[in-house]
């Protein structure tokens, strides 16, 4: 009997499984409807909206200073970078130039946020694959960054520090010293992370060759961030459309060509080194200047459309503001990186095992409020 005849005689069925919305491996409330044959996945359909808070509709009702505070609830792990995106878009519309001091401080805090986000990602990736100790090591370092933020910005996670025109208040006197201490401590920790997870044979077998994205697919699906750079698609907004102080620091854009989970992992690990290098270049010479450029109390952007791109820890966040000259915007659209990254998940998950899907999703680093807005 040929294989096909045997298959027809033994009746097997595909069945549906819900992964989520409450699930230890879904990074937030994401519901994936998997169609499975045995252990092999045939189709992945995401069902979103569990944390949809209609941020874009609320932006049409609020003033420009108020929209900034809505954005750090979107991707809460890069909250400072989200705030900066809206502030830069508004500053572009008002055509005001912020001082050098503001640009340098924004860049330093951006990179600290990126390190904190990648630390959490690393801990969670180990945990998803079964190495439960990585979570604790990562949070130990993230706590140090959160303490720095708490002293300067007043909050640990959703730091409302950026305002259109500059910063809400100046940095704390301890900021420079604490950041330098943290950088010195962190440089001894990244080799520890590599020793625990990156060099592990079991980890290599779980992640190499899993979830491969080709460069053409990455461009067509609009993938950005470390996921795209692991496939060879050079998409770092900090290099192509520099903003704040990124045009005067020297850092490499990390590109790999394999496009598998291990490449995405390595891109983020090497980005940790690059972030450390950027902070080191800027922390010693923060120029003097005003902390906030003067803006009117009621901000009205002129009639037109303004688009600003920034590089969050997940990829390219785009803010599109369409204004008709009123004090509220007419339409605000947030092009979130997670949304486009999620759209490729079905394409690369044909005929893989569930364990591979978990590893792939861990390497994509989803934050679901970013996707659902």
């Amino acid at each position: 009997m040929t294989d096909q005849e045997v298959q027809n005689k033994i009746k097997t069925e595909e069945y549906f499984i819900n992964m989520g919305p409450q699930h230890p491996a879904a990074h937030g409330v994401l519901r994936l409807i998997l169609t499975i044959d045995g252990e092999i996945i045939k189709n992945v359909e995401p069902d979103l909206g569990y944390i949809h808070r209609s941020i874009e509709k609320m932006c049409e009702r609020d003033s420009y200073q108020q929209i900034v505070h809505l954005t750090d609830r979107m991707d809460y792990l890069s909250s400072h970078i989200n705030n900066e995106a809206v502030c830069l878009a508004v500053e572009k519309g008002l055509e005001i130039e912020v001082s050098e001091r503001v640009k340098v401080i924004r860049t330093i805090i951006d990179e600290l946020t990126r390190i904190a986000s990648h630390c959490l990602w690393w801990g969670v990736m180990g945990m998803d694959l079964g190495a439960l100790t990585t979570y604790f090591y990562a949070f130990r370092d993230r706590e140090m960054i959160n303490d720095i933020f708490e002293e300067t910005c007043g909050a640990r996670l959703t730091m409302n520090y950026n305002v259109p025109g500059g910063l809400m208040f100046d940095i704390h006197p301890n900021f420079v010293k604490r950041t330098k201490d943290f950088i010195a401590h962190f440089k001894t920790k990244i080799p520890e992370y590599n020793l625990l997870l990156t060099d592990n044979v079991i980890f290599h077998k779980r992640t190499k060759g899993v979830g491969i994205i080709t460069k053409e697919d990455a461009i067509s699906f609009g993938v950005s961030g470390p996921v795209a750079r692991a496939s060879g698609f050079s998409s770092d907004v900090r290099k192509h459309h520099p903003y704040s102080a990124y045009d005067r620091v020297d850092f490499k854009e990390i590109l790999f060509t394999e496009g598998d989970t291990f490449a995405r992992y390595q891109v983020r690990m090497m980005e940790l080194w690059e972030s450390v290098s950027i902070i080191e270049q800027l922390i010693d010479n923060i120029p003097e200047g005003e902390t906030k450029a003067a803006t009117k109390a009621v901000i009205k952007l002129p009639k037109g459309e303004f688009y600003q791109r920034v590089e969050t820890a997940r990829g390219e966040l785009g803010v599109y503001i369409n204004s008709t000259g009123n004090k509220n915007p007419y339409r605000v659209k947030f092009r979130s990186p997670g949304f486009s990254n999620l759209s490729i998940l079905n394409h690369i998950s044909k005929d893989v095992l569930i364990a591979d899907l978990v590893a792939t999703m861990a390497s994509f680093d989803f934050v679901i409020p970013d996707i659902d807005r």
């Binding site: 069945y15 499984i17 699930h23 230890p24 491996a25 252990e39 180990g126 945990m127 998803d128 694959l129 079964g130 190495a131 439960l132 100790t133 604790f136 090591y137 130990r140 625990l196 997870l197 592990n200 079991i202 980890f203 077998k205 779980r206 095992l353 569930i354 364990a355 591979d356 978990v358």
Partner: protein
């Protein structure tokens, strides 16, 4: 007075059994002795299970740079008592669509298998409940019965996730039993007997088996540790209960006391694998270089426990360091790597013994 040369014959089992025989007729005395032994083993099962859980939590905390339970009792020693009380007082929930008979039967399979295996271990020269001449063979056979409990649990829960977990566990255990059996067989070649007390006697006169067999013994030990960790569904082979993938695997639908049975049975299985390793490789209750040889039972039990806890610590170390293997990688590891290696090692041990190259 040389303390180490005193011969202290504290022959507890003999004194107790003599006393019981003296106060009752023979058949009643036999039954009473059986009941006493059963109660002792159940107590040992419960206490060992509970304290192994505490040890796991403390070891995990140590690896993760934190302290672990330290509130309930000094150093958290009463923590698992509190957990056990909590589990006993929980409501036994279950869904409507379960297969009631199998659902209730499943935990008992794993416990009975674990208890029967524990019955043949020599904790000391006197403390061995069941010293049969096919001891090792009996152990390997009994450890296969526990699988049925897991499969029944997954099937009767009427839950897709539980079923997937149970199927994964079934095929994992069946595959790795081969490796465990073969590595045990390699050591049996050295001893020439399957009876556990005889195996320890061989080690008393000739040195521990892992040193007697040098190279093939060490390879057999490494394979035994890997396969034993896989048998008991512990990380890095714990995809059965991979919490980050499928909820809780085959015991998703269990709660309260029945869940406690599965949970404790996992730790007792770890104890059993470590005990087999200690008996076959590290000399059982023998002291190194025979230093406390003439003092009966008390130091022997202590030595046994120290060695078993050492091997259990090794298994816990694996769990908190390595990520998890995927199901097809697990099977590849067994069938393509461990099994051929085991067979070659067996032949190597046979050649070493034939050419009289043992130490």
């Amino acid at each position: 007075m040389n303390f180490l040369q005193m011969n202290i014959p504290l022959n507890i089992t003999k004194t107790i059994s003599d006393w019981i025989f003296s106060i009752m007729p023979e058949t009643a005395a036999n039954y009473t002795i059986m009941v006493v032994i059963a109660v002792a083993y159940l107590a040992l099962f419960a206490v060992a299970g509970l304290y192994l859980v505490l040890l796991e939590r403390k070891v995990a905390a140590w690896f993760q740079l934190r302290i672990g339970p330290n509130r309930v009792g000094p150093w958290g020693l009463l923590q698992t008592m509190a957990d056990a009380l909590k589990l006993v007082s929980k409501e036994l929930t279950s869904t409507i669509k379960i297969d009631k008979f199998l659902y209730n039967l499943a935990p008992y399979f794993v416990i009975v298998a674990a208890l029967m295996a524990m019955a043949v271990f020599p904790f000391s020269k006197q403390f061995q409940a069941f010293d049969i001449n096919i001891g090792v063979f009996f152990l390997i056979a009994i450890s296969s019965i526990g699988v049925i409990g897991i499969l029944l649990a997954g099937w009767s829960s009427n839950n897709k996730f539980a079923l997937i977990g149970a199927m994964r566990s079934g095929l994992q255990t069946i595959s790795y039993e081969l490796s465990v059996g073969l590595s045990i067989l390699t050591m049996v070649l050295l001893t020439g007997t399957l009876q556990l007390s005889e195996i320890i006697e061989v080690q008393r006169t000739g040195g521990w088996l892992i040193f007697q067999g040098h190279v093939p013994s060490v390879i057999a030990f490494m394979i035994f540790m890997i396969a034993g960790t896989a048998e008991t569904n512990r990380a890095p082979f714990d995809l059965v209960e991979a919490e980050s993938e499928l909820g809780a695997g085959f015991h998703t639908e269990y709660s309260g006391m029945k869940f406690a049975y599965f949970f404790l049975a996992e730790f007792i299985n770890m104890f059993i694998i470590a005990s087999i390793g200690v008996v076959l490789f590290f000399g059982g209750w023998l002291s190194p270089f025979g230093i406390t040889e003439n003092i009966t039972w008390f130091p022997e039990v202590i030595w046994f426990i120290i060695k078993v806890v050492g091997l259990i610590f090794l298994m816990m170390w694996f769990r908190w360091t390595f990520p998890r293997l995927r199901v097809d990688q697990l099977l590849t590891l067994e069938w393509k790597y461990l099994l051929p290696l085991n067979l070659m090692n067996l032949m190597l041990m046979a050649i070493v013994i034939w050419l009289n190259w043992t130490i």
